[in-house]
Symmetry: C2
Subunit: 242 residues, 2 copies
């Protein structure tokens, strides 16, 4: 029954790339849909950027984006340590959504909010967890009657990750107030930083400062333990990149 | 914002291949999950076939399988004619699940019913729409809290395709009765043939005979129009392949 193609390699060519609120890997939510304030554009490249390629796509609210984790190393290992398990328990790479996987293929379900065909083709997406520059290799419409399985069992990841309150320092408030996208950026920062992007093995490192890139700013933050609230993400400062 | 990787190609290597009830392309249901009686095995190949790679996977009920439509031509076109639209309306390739797409990447949600690690690693799947020999390039666990979106809009494919009654000739009944897998094969034939696998442009060709491969048999069938029932799929004969 074996086919000659079993050991054959395949070449895939990007059909487009992502421009998003995430200029860097660090801190990107671990699943799409968790930060709905995050905007992204999928820009199709020639010869795929004809409006014909996306005819009828506007009738779908959600899309599957297949992409390459191009900033992950090409090495893979059979075991990974998911952040969801505190980073100290190992599970199989195929039981995970780890970026360190064979073929570095990623898969994200995103909301389609608009299609711009004025100059090539750009798809406007919401809730994407995709870094700027990510090469996209396929787009497929989402089919709820076969792909929505609310009662599926999902092992070590049965529910969304915890979400912490986010507080802004007065310096951060001042920086926000000077921007045209103030309320939108505040929502994005709250959604993304509230997920505590610190590495799993830093969970006990309270007060330590971290930096994360969002849009054109660098956000300094730390996690504090507050008497009644438990962990709170404290935004120390928001600084525009040079 | 552009990354150097935008025009870069990527090489992907299969991590395994499929052995299924579908030895041939013709007649395979157009989405997974529509023929739950269809069994498939995903056989991992070296170096991926270590039990470590799938540790923890048994806690998930559903998996995403990314694969290559290896029997489809490498050519793609911006417009396709989905069978769901009767084969005479064109939509964009990225608004479809057509197999004739750039990179020939397929994506199926399947049920995981067992993991066999006695000799390498085999995953036992239910409801797969995958042809024997299909090269698999990734496995990811299904996450219902982010990927089940029952209210998503799905354009020209808002519901499962129609399903026709299936009737067996006495010759077909006799052939079935001689098999150890009689009831199971009957269920599979009913689920797969009831979806009317005829090409969309043959919809008016009643009484015309077609053949479809399932497991080790060739099934001859035709579509008949019955007074009260409308279209009925009539199984003319079931013959074992040589």
């Amino acid at each position: 029954m074996h086919d000659i193609s079993i050991n054959e390699s395949f070449t895939i060519n990007p059909i487009g790339y992502i421009e998003s609120d995430y200029p860097d890997k660090f801190g990107i939510p671990r699943q799409p849909g968790l930060a709905t304030a995050a905007k992204a554009t999928l820009v199709l490249t020639p010869p795929f950027n004809t409006p014909l390629s996306v005819r009828g796509l506007e009738a779908f609210s959600h899309l599957w984006i297949s992409f390459i984790f191009h900033r992950s190393p090409e090495e893979w290992a059979p075991l990974v340590r998911p952040p969801r398990l505190g980073g100290n328990k190992k599970i199989g790479v195929f039981a995970s959504r780890s970026t360190h996987r064979p073929n570095r293929l990623g898969l994200s379900l995103v909301e389609l909010v608009g299609i711009d065909t004025h100059n090539g083709v750009s798809l406007l997406l919401k809730g994407a967890d995709l870094m700027t520059g990510t090469p996209v290799v396929d787009i497929k419409p989402y089919l709820p009657w076969t792909e929505a399985v609310p009662n599926a069992r999902s092992g070590f990841a049965p529910a969304p990750p915890p979400f912490y309150p986010v507080e802004f320092s007065s310096a951060a408030e001042t920086a926000l107030a000077q921007r045209a996208d103030a309320s939108d950026l505040r929502r994005l920062i709250t959604q993304v930083l509230g997920q505590d992007p610190r590495p799993a093995y830093h969970q006990d490192q309270l007060e330590r400062e971290y930096g994360m890139q969002l849009r054109d700013v660098n956000i300094r933050f730390q996690v504090q333990q507050m008497p009644e609230l438990g962990n709170v993400v404290y935004i120390i400062n928001i600084q525009k990149n040079n």
